[in-house]
Symmetry: C2
């Protein structure tokens, strides 16, 4: 079964926003085992939208349209789709009620305009999907020719839950067998090495399949099985998961889609009943900020230090003046003392330090841009690693943060 | 003149990467005054790429294809385009030499494979654009029917400089008049209010035009003039810029495309010869990390504090225990003492503090998620602002960082 995407919106054509919905939908469709050969973007224009939709329906089984479901006259997706399918629009009483409740819930009753009721209009015979995060409902329109259009709202916080909760199960039911997957997330190992380590598994795959996804400093493998139910899928996937665990060991930090590296680290700290602190120079708070992405991270993190100047490295985390003079602020020795000193200052069981030249300039001492040291102390054990990154300033800082999380995780294990 | 985009790459169809190139090109084309009504994504498949290109050429004057110019057999963009235009490929001696030099420069001479010379093949009659950041050249192919295809490499660090340096001037030359623009970036004022404030200017516009671009917590207006040269364009734009400055005053922090809010703040600190520090609770380092995005920020920032726990607020930045007990950690009073205490602890002339409930949970004291206080002290003056954000945890933290930078800028002025 083939699926095609049409993103509707002048703001995408003008480059005002990046089309992240298309990337989100594409990844989800691939995970469902559906083939997507075409994606289009078109503005809120009746003629061009009609042509684009007709072309898509001529070459794909299912067309997913996102955007253009708003309350204004400019929003045409529903009207155009109904016309192409030869259906009239009528006001759906349930949707009208839901929109009313939505405004009531936000205490914005007075803000409903006549326009909003346009969003309660749906094509005859359509399946209407409630939107729990906005007013425009989702719409599934099954044509008599076996072709289907699925209309979804544009805002990411509306389309994502609607796709996950309603559209993915709908698509899965259309297939003779369901698609089930696990995301095996790996740190500590580079992308090309990780792929080499499983090249044989990727080659001999059929059901389940194995596909790599590169993220900054991490490698994710999606294991996907086609099966009649979750239990059969789990049985098919288990040998591959076992084999991946045999090869990557505890470099695998999760097999859950939604778990992030920082979340895995925070969970590990909670399990061990430990707190962590950070002393950051070149990353200047990005590492702490990322740990604190995790709701509830306050259980494992109390305070941290941004030690950009030499003085602050001495004052806040007790680096020795002699160390800075002899080895420089970007050195194994300084990273070591920053980690140990931060743990002591914060009274925490673990600490991570980052010091480096993020670029574009290197050090006055001739050390190059991209040179970064990560220090980590857990209990009595201290470890320092050297990295030489070759990206720009922001890339180097992002990589340093991932390496720091990875090393902390390794030391906690 | 109409331009259409085709992004070539299975990795986009699978959702492995987000199509940021399309957003980049769209914004640049709009800034050049060119109309883009269609964008497509297609995989590395000869038949589908041929169909997509033919359709695009039938409805647009210029088609920009990005991606699929790599050295492997899968990469087909050049081959398909040459065929559609009825041109043969030949080896371009200059490009062969440039590829050789590229590998030499990176000390990767031994890594050239026979495949790489495929990248030196270009269609007869094409304009070849040197790639200074990779091996695949850009190609402009002008058909006899007045239609043009422009082929650009996929990696963002290759396509962006090539577009700016070579393609934008080429496109500008095709037009009777050139397009010149300024980006007026505004903070301290919300999107809808800012648009209302210039609704009359947007209505009466023709040359120059005025278009809004929303960024998290900021509003950008692009002023675009059509003119025979830069000087004439400047004369056309000046009255609009003057009017914008009259209405927004120093809420405009730059009129330069590349200057960010944090850069404007760092420059202001440098001008005033002041240093700043940060005390962050819910943003936990993100504000400091953003200030340090700016190369050379070390001149104005020495150290900072992540004060997540109550203890750390007392210990690191001297918040009174009584204040925390009486008003709570998320309060005007705590934000005030955090800012004043941070400036004192760091010995800096300015300080910014952030304390709030980022979500998903609010405080044990019943205060809601999204409640954030930003404190700012510059010299003797202290100011605290309350915000109630309604996004998720990460959105709320991002907004808090922008608000903190905005308030710091206002107080510095």
């Amino acid at each position: 079964m083939t699926v095609e995407l049409i993103s509707v919106g002048t703001e995408i054509l003008l480059g005002n926003i990046v089309n992240t919905n298309a990337a989100f939908l594409s990844e989800k469709l691939a995970a469902l085992g559906l083939s997507c050969y075409h994606q289009s973007v078109v503005g809120d224009n009746e003629e061009r939208l009609t042509d684009t939709l007709k072309l898509a329906l001529s070459r794909s089984d299912i067309v997913i349209l996102s955007g253009g479901l708003g309350p204004t006259k400019d929003d045409l997706t529903k009207e155009v789709t109904a016309k192409v399918f030869g259906k009239e629009l009528y006001e759906d009483a349930h949707t009208r009620e839901r929109i009313q409740e939505y405004f009531d819930r936000l205490n914005r009753k007075g803000m409903i305009t006549e326009n909003n009721w346009k969003q309660a209009m749906v094509p005859e015979g359509a399946i209407v999907i409630d939107n729990h995060n906005g007013t425009a409902p989702g719409i599934i329109l099954e044509g008599e020719n076996g072709k289907t259009a699925i209309l979804l709202p544009g805002p990411p916080n509306e389309i994502k839950p609607m796709f996950e909760n309603d559209i993915a199960p709908y698509l899965n039911r259309l297939q003779p067998e369901g698609i089930y997957s696990k995301m095996v997330k790996i740190c500590s190992i580079g992308e090309s090495r990780a792929e080499t380590m499983v090249a044989d598994l990727m080659e001999q795959q059929s059901n389940p399949t194995l596909a790599p996804y590169a993220k900054t400093g991490e490698v994710h493998f999606r294991v996907t099985a086609k099966a009649k139910d979750q239990e059969t899928a789990d049985q098919l996937m288990q040998p591959v998961l076992d084999e991946l665990f045999r090869r990557f060991g505890n470099n695998i930090y999760t097999t859950e889609e939604t778990v992030t590296l920082e979340e895995a680290v925070v969970n590990l700290l909670k399990e061990k009943n430990m707190t962590v602190t950070t002393a950051e120079s070149c990353t200047a708070g990005l590492l702490a900020g990322r740990i604190m992405n995790v709701p509830g991270a306050s259980d494992v993190y109390n305070e941290g230090y941004i030690t950009y100047s030499n003085d602050s490295k001495m004052k806040l985390v007790g680096v020795q003046e002699e160390t800075l003079n002899q080895y420089g602020p970007v050195s194994v020795e300084t990273a070591y003392e920053m980690a140990v000193g931060a743990a002591r200052a914060a009274g925490s069981e673990a600490a991570v330090s980052v010091t480096g030249y993020a670029g574009p300039d290197g050090g006055a001492d001739g050390k190059p841009a991209g040179l970064v040291y990560v220090g980590c102390c857990v209990g009595d054990k201290v470890r320092v690693e050297e990295f030489r990154f070759s990206g720009n300033r922001n890339k180097n800082r992002d990589y340093a943060v991932v390496r720091a999380l990875t090393i902390l995780r390794e030391e906690l294990l």
